[in-house]
């Protein structure tokens, strides 16, 4: 297993499968009366969130606590960051307290990668800018796998604001690794530069994808959130027009194959990218995704933190 989890692309197929298999066991623990395991006793995990988050931060916190790690939350608001402390100083301060892992969310792409160059502890990417969000991709894969079985050979359509979506990026990488086909569906303005080099299909026409005309019938539909906070550049004329072109309306929901599932990383803009009919239907596994979030993050923390530290890493720390 790698030392840090920065990108979904860092995981090999067997590593990803191991994490998902372990998550399956962690998932069963959620149903128990005593939700506590001693595996990370004496380890300290710091959630360092420079951006707002509800589900990611709280599920990392619960995951750490259920594994008996001590979890500390630091958010940019109310910390020294608001007094003007630099990212490097904040991170070094936290690391100097002797923590075993930091879970970082930051608005700048690549910030988490940079942090690994400064500290010796494990670093987990909980979302960096528009770059990656690997644990989200893992929990999406986990949720689809629970519903549909093995991911190999499945076809997943990711619809919406791909440009600003770290979820889409991580999912393309991970789903490919696990043997699934991915088609990105978005208006041309919301396709990132260089998307042609990604290992996935592309389409501007959601109805054609639903009809199975692009790379065959769809097994899972992942609707991305329209990130209103990043929508200043005039990416589409009106929200109404976006909803008509790329929203998962009741009509489109009915076009999906019988077994297909609907995912959304949350928080949902009902009526915009996803209709209430779709969000609340039997096919929607949005709440399953949240439930899976804790199990998958437990599994990630376990695999990164539970074992012995490699001696190479210890040397690195000593010389740093």
């Amino acid at each position: 297993m790698t030392r840090h989890l920065l990108s979904a692309g860092d995981l090999s197929a067997s590593e990803a499968t191991t994490i998902l298999d372990s998550a399956e066991q962690m998932y069963a623990i959620q149903a128990r009366q005593v939700k506590k395991l001693p595996a990370l006793r004496g380890r300290t995990v710091v959630n360092l969130f420079f951006e707002d988050s509800t589900r990611t931060r709280s599920s990392f916190e619960i995951a750490g606590k259920w594994l008996s790690a001590d979890v500390i939350n630091i958010s940019a608001k109310g910390s020294s960051v608001s007094k003007g402390e630099s990212l490097r100083d904040t991170v070094l301060t936290v690391a100097a307290m002797g923590v075993d892992a930091v879970v970082v969310r930051h608005a700048a792409s690549g910030a988490v990668q940079r942090i690994t160059e400064w500290v010796g502890c494990h670093v987990i990417n909980a979302g960096d800018g528009t770059h990656e969000h690997p644990t989200q991709a893992l929990l999406d894969a986990f949720s689809i796998r629970r519903r549909l079985g093995e991911l190999s050979g499945r076809h997943v359509a990711i619809v919406g604001d791909v440009t600003h979506s770290r979820v889409a990026r991580s999912n393309v990488l991970l789903l490919r690794t696990l043997g699934a086909r991915v088609t990105l569906v978005a208006p041309p303005t919301l396709m990132p530069a260089g998307v042609a080099t990604w290992k996935c299909g592309l389409s501007w026409d959601l109805d054609a994808v639903l009809a199975g005309e692009v790379d065959g019938p769809v097994d899972a539909m992942m609707m991305l959130r329209v990130q209103r906070e990043r929508m200043s550049g005039g990416y589409f004329p009106t929200e109404r027009e976006y909803a008509i072109g790329y929203g998962l309306s009741p009509r489109r929901l009915a076009l999906l194959p019988e077994h297909a599932v609907v995912l959304h990383p949350g928080p949902m803009n009902r009526g915009l990218e996803i209709s209430s009919a779709a969000a609340d239907s039997d096919r929607s596994i949005v709440l399953d995704q949240v439930r899976a979030g804790v199990a998958v993050r437990m599994s990630v923390l376990y695999h990164l933190l539970a074992g012995a530290d490699e001696p190479a890493a210890a040397l690195e720390e000593a010389s740093a």
């Binding site: 066991q25 395991l37 001693p38 376990y302 695999h303 539970a306 074992g307 012995a308």
Partner: protein
């Protein structure tokens, strides 16, 4: 399902492949022996628990799970009683997690009806230091509170590091600490056997 046919030494091809890091092997139990031992343990469980009432068998993965399944089948045959069956993974409760590479997590299956108030019998293949059993006792408290806990093992090779003993022992195998005892089971390894491997002699 019990493969108890060959009374002679199994052909070499049936033996599990020789692990690269181990020296020469000595086979101490054959398929018949394993079958007879499990028959006896099943009878002992029935005798000691007065007919197997309230008994749940909890196998410790990987091979303990298969042994527990076999014992449950035999108890069903001999005692005409269907005992609870589950498996209990102990990976997350090990005391050596921090000193070894990360291990994958095995399956924990709670027996139908749970374990509260039941007589839980832990089943494992080899009893050695006793640390696995200690971890299992911890893991058990997460599942519930059994009335009592007993331990059944196929092989007891000694060298205990904790005050733990088995209630049902298939075979006591005196070994030296640097030998390796490997239990092979048909469900997992393709053949039933117990082998002792000598340590590799430095050449």
């Amino acid at each position: 399902m019990s493969p108890q046919s060959n009374s002679t030494h199994p052909p070499a091809s049936l033996l599990p492949s020789q692990p690269a890091d181990l020296g020469p092997a000595k086979t101490v139990l054959l398929a018949d022996d394993v079958g007879r031992i499990l028959d006896r343990i099943a009878h002992q469980i029935l005798e000691k628990t007065r007919g197997g009432e309230d008994v749940v068998l909890l196998g410790i993965p990987t091979r303990g799970t298969f042994l527990a399944e076999r014992l449950a089948t035999r108890i069903q045959t001999f005692g005409e009683i269907s005992v609870g069956l589950g498996s209990l993974d102990i990976t997350l409760h090990r005391d050596d997690l921090r000193t070894q590479a990360v291990r994958p997590i095995g399956r924990t299956v709670e027996p139908a009806g749970g374990i509260d108030g039941k007589l839980a019998i832990l089943v494992d293949d080899v009893l050695f230091s006793g640390r696995t059993v200690r971890a299992a006792l911890d893991a058990l408290t997460d599942l519930g509170r059994p009335r009592a806990v007993q331990l059944a093992v196929l092989v007891d090779r000694g060298h205990r590091e904790l005050p733990i003993r088995a209630d049902y022992v298939g075979k006591n195998l005196p070994t030296s600490r640097d030998e390796q005892v490997r239990v092979s089971l048909a469900e997992y390894d393709g053949v039933d056997a117990v082998n002792i491997y000598q340590p590799v002699q430095p050449s």
